[in-house]
């Protein structure tokens, strides 16, 4: 039994997480190569993507993560989501987590929007009944009612992303992880996303947002991290993190 007050236990605890990728200089991808090159040493480089990452997220908190391209944001999110396993340290996530990574989810291009909604919805943890009941609402939110029977391969990337967000907003149970949420869709869709997002926040959901957009981080986050070369260089109020991020980008980007 947990004797601690549940509110004081972090919902997400990241303890000294490190992740590296081995990139062989000579790539062996087949059995034939493995058999014939059995005794030849195999050189590879290690690419350290994350190093001693440590932070907590409390229930109901919204955490922003900023950083330049290639700083390890996406890898960190994948570790949190359980897609990658850390080489060292632990990422403890104490509640179900719904991710949307890299502008979307994995679609099956040969299926129509409805079948893909079932596929992604069940992957995100919804039951068939949940999806059946919410289908109209999901399609309406994404403004895709007219294209419900169109195969996904005919969708524009914007349409596919709208559908992904629409499903994820429906599927979220506790924690929502969003990679570049406010970069999708036209102004109308963005406004609805922000509205929906405010509702989730008001309902006490925990959210992690990765964004390059200073406005989004300032406006929506309670706290922010700045990642640079795989380590956290700053953990604090969003406004300060945004300024530090902008100064990393160079003098042209510092906001007044």
């Amino acid at each position: 039994m947990n004797v601690l007050n549940p509110a004081s236990v972090p919902l997400i605890e990241v303890q000294d997480v490190a992740k590296q990728f081995k990139i062989p200089s000579v790539r062996r991808e087949s059995l034939r190569e493995h058999v014939f090159d059995l005794f030849r040493p195999r050189p590879f480089e290690c690419l350290r993507v994350l190093e001693s990452i440590r932070f907590n997220v409390m229930r109901g908190e919204t955490l922003g993560i900023m950083g330049r391209n290639g700083c390890g944001k996406s890898t960190l999110l994948k570790v949190l989501c359980g897609i990658y396993q850390p080489d060292a340290g632990r990422a403890i996530v104490r509640a179900p987590l719904t991710p949307i990574l890299e502008l979307g989810v994995g679609w099956n291009p040969e299926l129509n929007a409805i079948d893909n909604t079932y596929l992604i919805g069940t992957v995100m943890g919804l039951s068939l009944g949940d999806i059946r009941r919410a289908l109209d609402e999901i399609l309406a939110f994404a403004e895709l009612e007219r294209f419900a029977n169109l195969e996904l391969r005919h969708f524009s990337s914007g349409m596919a992303s709208r559908l992904a967000y629409s499903i994820a907003f429906k599927a979220v149970r506790e924690i929502l992880v969003l990679d570049e949420v406010f970069a999708v869709g036209d102004a109308g869709f963005k406004a609805r996303c922000e509205e929906r997002y405010r509702q989730l926040r008001a309902a006490g959901h925990t959210v992690i947002i990765v964004s390059h957009d200073p406005r989004a981080v300032r406006e929506f986050c309670d706290r922010a991290l700045l990642l640079e070369r795989g380590t956290i260089v700053m953990d604090g109020p969003p406004a300060e993190v945004v300024n530090a991020y902008l100064s990393l980008l160079g003098p042209d980007h510092v906001s007044g």
């Binding site: 990728f21 991808e29 994995g106 040969e110 079948d115 992957v123 919804l126 039951s127 068939l128």
Partner: protein, 252 residues
């Protein structure tokens, strides 16, 4: 992210079915053409060689249908993680469900063809008892478990060794003649039988033939061996899968 396992499994099966047959009956009939053509050719050719054997055509048909299921299901199983990689790199969908449901299309084909076959032989006077049908189901359960066990291992190994599917194709082709499909097992010396029985389709084909055609139920001991073989394959497959499962998304 915690997936709802029954809903996800059902959706994966449905997705496979829709993608493979484009949701049409005609598409499904195409899939039946392959085992049918194979049966016609082999029964036609080998009837000259083994024509004197009782029930030769029936033996070949049972052998081909069961082998076709094995070949189809293990080939799809081997590529299952790679072909559904899009679900694994952007979400933490439980990868084992993807492998464990990959045999579904092959199972649908087998179920349809087998039902037709059973209807035909019972119409022609073969007596099908409840016991023989129950045993048939029992053997097929073992068969499916063996396929899943093999697929669990090959699906993760394929991510690392990209020519594994070619190796497997060769094995499947050679295995067609290891399993006693076109020849009766009795033409080989008995000391080799144990090796042939280690190849998963062999015991299943032999046992199914025994209960459906001759009405002779294999011994209790034979059943124990079958279950041990199945369990060994499943455990080994699960173990191999466990070695790689955490890194599936990285290999994709």
């Amino acid at each position: 992210m915690r997936a709802n396992v029954p809903s996800l499994a059902w959706t994966l099966v449905r997705t496979d079915f829709k993608v493979r047959y484009h949701g049409t009956i005609a598409g499904f009939l195409w899939a039946l053409l392959k085992p049918l053509a194979m049966v016609l050719v082999l029964v036609g050719v080998f009837s000259f060689v083994f024509g004197a054997q009782k029930d030769y055509a029936s033996n070949v048909i049972i052998g081909i249908l069961l082998y076709d299921f094995f070949s189809e299901a293990t080939k799809v199983g081997l590529t299952s993680l790679r072909s559904k990689g899009y679900l694994l790199t952007k979400s933490a969908a439980p990868s084992w469900i993807i492998v464990a449901t990959s045999f579904s299309n092959a199972a649908v084909t087998l179920a349809v063809v087998a039902s037709v076959y059973l209807a035909v032989i019972s119409f022609r006077g073969q007596v099908l008892t409840v016991t023989s049908l129950a045993l048939l189901l029992w053997y097929l359960c073992h068969y499916v478990l063996m396929v899943v066990g093999i697929s669990l291992a090959t699906s993760v190994l394929f991510l690392k060794y990209r020519d594994l599917h070619e190796v497997w194709d060769v094995l499947i082709q050679a295995g067609f003649f290891v399993a006693p499909i076109v020849y009766p097992l009795s033409i080989l010396p008995e000391k080799f039988h144990i090796f042939l029985y280690a190849w998963p389709p062999t015991p299943i084909i032999q046992f199914v033939r025994a209960v459906l055609l001759t009405g002779q139920v294999p011994t209790f001991r034979a059943h124990v061996y079958l279950s041990i073989e199945t369990l060994a394959i499943v455990l080994l497959g699960t173990w191999v899968f466990g070695q790689f499962r955490g890194r599936v998304a990285e290999y994709l």
